[in-house]
């Protein structure tokens, strides 16, 4: 690996940055590719590095989740993997983008239509009366045309409003159906992932327990206690170190602990490139 810190480039499997003004967590983020500075040129980090890429004081670790990720780096597979891949594909295929609905139209009130209809009928009656009396019908005819035209327009508006309302409802319902389907699938996916995690942890838990036993200064099989502690209740630093030992670690691990002695002995114990800071 190659690390570039404040004008100095280090190129080695073990880089000792003690005494240099560099933040371990920032380095670990750079190893994961989440930041560009400090510049770290090294093999790509696996998911384990999201949990244990930095080991130091005040760290926390979700041991089981980290160990499951470690098992993946060793190529452990589970009976759930196909189902997980399938569910992920199905979730990804669902279009969860909110559709744009046709614009809402203001509807025309039934009373307005009824009033216009009445007005058309009344005008027609007037026209008929004029015709019977052989009177001048031009003005009434024009009235009738106008009122009938208004009625037709309002009726069209009302139909358009009803259609747009229907379309809006249908589009919204289809979208919510998709969200609902996605929610059910993501629930199932989460369950499957949990099952897979358990299987992964099971597959490597013995290796993890013996790695934990080997962490210098850790006494899980303390004869003073009535029962040996659960390895998954171990302190974050030894737990993370044991997880890293189980994992295949091509990317550098950032250590801010003396637990494993010198940086070189730490690299040997972890079988990993190490940045000590």
């Amino acid at each position: 690996m190659r690390v570039h810190v404040r004008g100095t480039t280090y190129e080695s499997r073990v880089v000792d940055l003690r005494g240099r003004p560099v933040d371990g967590r920032a380095l670990a983020a750079a190893v994961r590719g989440e930041r560009c500075v400090p510049a770290v040129d090294a093999p790509a980090a696996t998911l384990v590095y999201g949990y244990c890429g930095y080991v130091g004081p005040e760290m926390g670790v979700r041991t089981r989740t980290a160990l499951a990720a470690a098992a993946r780096t060793r190529g452990v597979e589970t009976p759930h993997d196909d189902a997980i891949a399938d569910l992920r594909e199905r979730v990804a295929a669902i279009d969860a983008v909110e559709p744009s609905l046709p614009p809402a139209r203001k509807s025309v009130a039934d009373e307005d239509i009824a009033a216009l209809r009445e007005s058309v009928a009344a005008t027609r009656g007037r026209l008929w009366a004029r015709e019977r009396l052989d009177g001048d019908t031009a003005e009434v005819e024009s009235d009738l045309r106008e009122t009938a035209q208004t009625l037709a327009t309002r009726e069209t508006e009302r139909t358009a409003a009803a259609e747009s309302r229907q379309q809006r409802r249908e589009a919204a319902r289809a979208y919510r159906d998709r969200l609902e389907r996605r929610r059910r699938l993501t629930d199932r996916l989460a369950n499957r992932r949990r099952d897979a995690r358990e299987a992964l942890v099971d597959a490597v838990s013995d290796r993890y327990a013996s790695a934990l036993d080997d962490v210098p200064g850790t006494t899980t099989d303390n004869s003073a206690g009535p029962t040996p502690d659960d390895p998954f209740d171990a302190e974050p630093v030894p737990a993370a170190l044991a997880v890293l030992r189980v994992a295949r670690t091509d990317a550098p691990v950032v250590l801010e602990t003396n637990r494993l002695g010198t940086p070189t002995s730490a690299a040997a114990w972890l079988d990993a490139p190490v940045i000590r800071c």
């Binding site: 909110e98 559709p99 609905l101 919204a172 979208y175 919510r176 969200l179 609902e180 929610r183």
Partner: protein, 111 residues
């Protein structure tokens, strides 16, 4: 009443907050839905959620329901079926030998 149903985590969280802050307009709260009073204030709260979360918030008008709103043959079918002696009889079979509507006959029929 107004039925407000949510379809995303964020919308659900905000609905819960609205329900907590404005109890007087909340008729009933369910997991990710709530019934709000059919008042301007209830509508105001529903519209706020709509503004913020778009189609992830569904608002429907809910009208009261009385059994009497339903045709007699449907009500009679429901009470006869619930009084059946064989609990495992599906309704389809139960209705067949009796003067009761078939499920298909009811399915397409709007109230």
């Amino acid at each position: 009443m107004l039925l407000v149903a949510t379809y995303s985590r964020a919308a659900r969280r905000d609905l819960r907050n609205v329900c907590r802050a404005h109890e007087d307009c909340v008729v009933r709260q369910f997991g990710r839905a709530a019934l709000l009073s059919l008042t301007e204030f209830g509508a105001f709260q529903a519209l706020r959620l709509r503004e913020k979360h778009g189609l992830d918030v569904q608002v429907e008008r809910v009208t009261p329901f009385e059994p009497e709103d339903v045709p007699a043959h449907v009500r009679e079918a429901a009470s006869a079926y619930e009084a059946r002696e064989e609990p495992s009889t599906p309704y389809q079979r139960f209705a067949a030998g009796r003067d009761l509507p078939a499920p298909e006959a009811m399915e397409g029929k709007e109230l």
